[in-house]
Amino acid sequence: MKPIAVKLSHIYKVYSLHHEKPTLVEKLIKGVNEQFTALSDVNLTVYQGERVGILGPNGSGKTTLLKIITGITTPTSGTVVANGRVVSLISLDAGFHGDLSGVQNIYLNGLLLGMKKPEIDAKLRRIVEYAALGRYIDVPLFTYSSGMRMRLGFAVAIHSEPDILILDEMIQVGDQRFQDKTQKTLTDLVKKKRITIIASSHNPEKFKYLFKRIIEVKNGRVVSDGTISTTHY
């Protein structure tokens, strides 16, 4: 029996819907907010070294599921167990600050991912090289293109030595050359370090090569758990 990387039991997630910015005045006038169930009774066990693709249309609960595994948000009910360092690439701008330079952002981002300062000091050169941003590494992040930000985010995430890597619609990072590089890195990481990868997409084509196990999510429920050929997507 392989060791368990992630175990979700009976996960429910209920959001309150608010149409504009939530305010106290509104709350006092209108009372209880409308609610929306994003996940209902999700059970999932992922073993160490597995590569799991989560497939589903927009709004099916994929991102919520990934956020719960990462601990960015907590489930309304149910339990989450994640063993080891969980590192996420969920949203493009997450963990960066536009006014800081590339290098300063590497530190900020690395610390957020749970790295220690000396660890970042030691890996700084490799991260900078991997991101391949050239002289842009010392200019403020707001001047970066979105592709450059993604590269920087990916470079830090990879070098933080995650046990579990969470990718949201992010298999395709940067230009073709960088994409090939990330594919190779991910494959290597899985082979060598038994890293667990959980990724989401609405496009099954992206999953063909890297993912053996495919979980299908629809309206907040897991509807199938198998290989790419067993999905009805």
């Binding site: 106290l24 960015i72 997450a94 600050h97 749970g114």
Partner: protein, 255 residues
């Protein structure tokens, strides 16, 4: 446990450094502003006060300066920390980390400013000869009460602001009222005796009295004054920590 604390401190210093860097990056005067600002404020208010109020206050300009610096620390921290969780949503969306480092980093960066600018006063009291080394511990006690109270207060307002974005506006209005109900531009003795008890629920009153004692040689406030202020500060802080901890579990859903 130890590595958790280490992580907290490293994150805090990184975000605080960012805070300081971003604030002064694009101003030529940079750090100088935080000294020039209260000095100008002091001159303006002092000038107006001399016109409106005929009563003389002993050492009025330094009195104003102590009060304004301290008040600026408090009001700036509240103003900036209340919307801070919402403003730093990009950090929240990255990973799981103690969310309280965000308001804490605002507090620390303002505290750094405050301590630097108040050291000007130390220079002043050395010149005027009212400086006494044995009062230094009172100074630190006052700063601790101030910081503990402010931290608890902004934990509550920043957590509330995530779910109710108008809280930032309410706190702004409240700060205006708070400014005039704190003896900053007037001494406490201007307040009629029979309603002075209302001032004792405001811990800033005791903090200022202690600082006036340290820097201006005013009378040391009675024990019950600073003791009750300390109790209020600690209770505010505990309530803030518990409230923020409960609320921060689903901050991501709201930002």
């Amino acid at each position: 446990m130890r590595s958790n604390i280490q992580r907290y401190i490293e994150l805090l210093s990184s975000i605080t450094e960012k805070e300081l860097r971003v604030r002064y990056k694009y101003t030529t005067f940079g750090f100088l502003w935080m000294i020039i600002n209260p000095l100008l404020q002091m001159l303006i208010i002092g000038f107006i006060f001399a016109f409106i109020m005929r009563q003389q206050v002993e050492n009025y300009y330094p009195y104003l300066f102590v009060g304004l610096l301290t008040w600026n620390f408090f009001s700036l921290t509240v103003t900036k920390a209340t919307p801070s969780v919402v403003n730093e949503r990009s950090l929240i969306k990255k990973s799981q980390f103690p969310r309280s480092v965000i308001p804490m980093s605002i507090l620390v960066s303002n505290l750094v400013h405050y301590l630097i600018s108040i050291s000007l006063l130390v220079a002043y009291v050395i010149v005027t000869g009212t400086f006494a080394l044995q009062r230094l511990h009172i100074f630190f006690a006052a700063i601790v009460i101030l910081a503990v109270f402010t931290y608890g207060f902004v934990l509550i307002t920043s957590a509330l602001d995530v779910k109710y974005r108008d809280v930032a506006f309410f706190t702004q209005t409240m700060l205006t009222l708070w400014f005039y109900t704190t003896p900053i531009i007037y001494p406490l003795s201007f307040i009629p005796q029979h309603i002075q008890w209302m001032w004792s629920v405001n811990p800033l009153v005791a903090v200022l009295s202690l600082l006036h004692y340290v820097f201006l040689g005013f009378a040391l406030p009675p024990t019950h004054v600073w003791l009750s202020a300390s109790v209020i500060a600690v209770i505010t802080c505990l309530v803030g920590i518990l409230f923020f901890r409960r609320e921060s579990a689903d901050f991501d859903d709201w930002v």
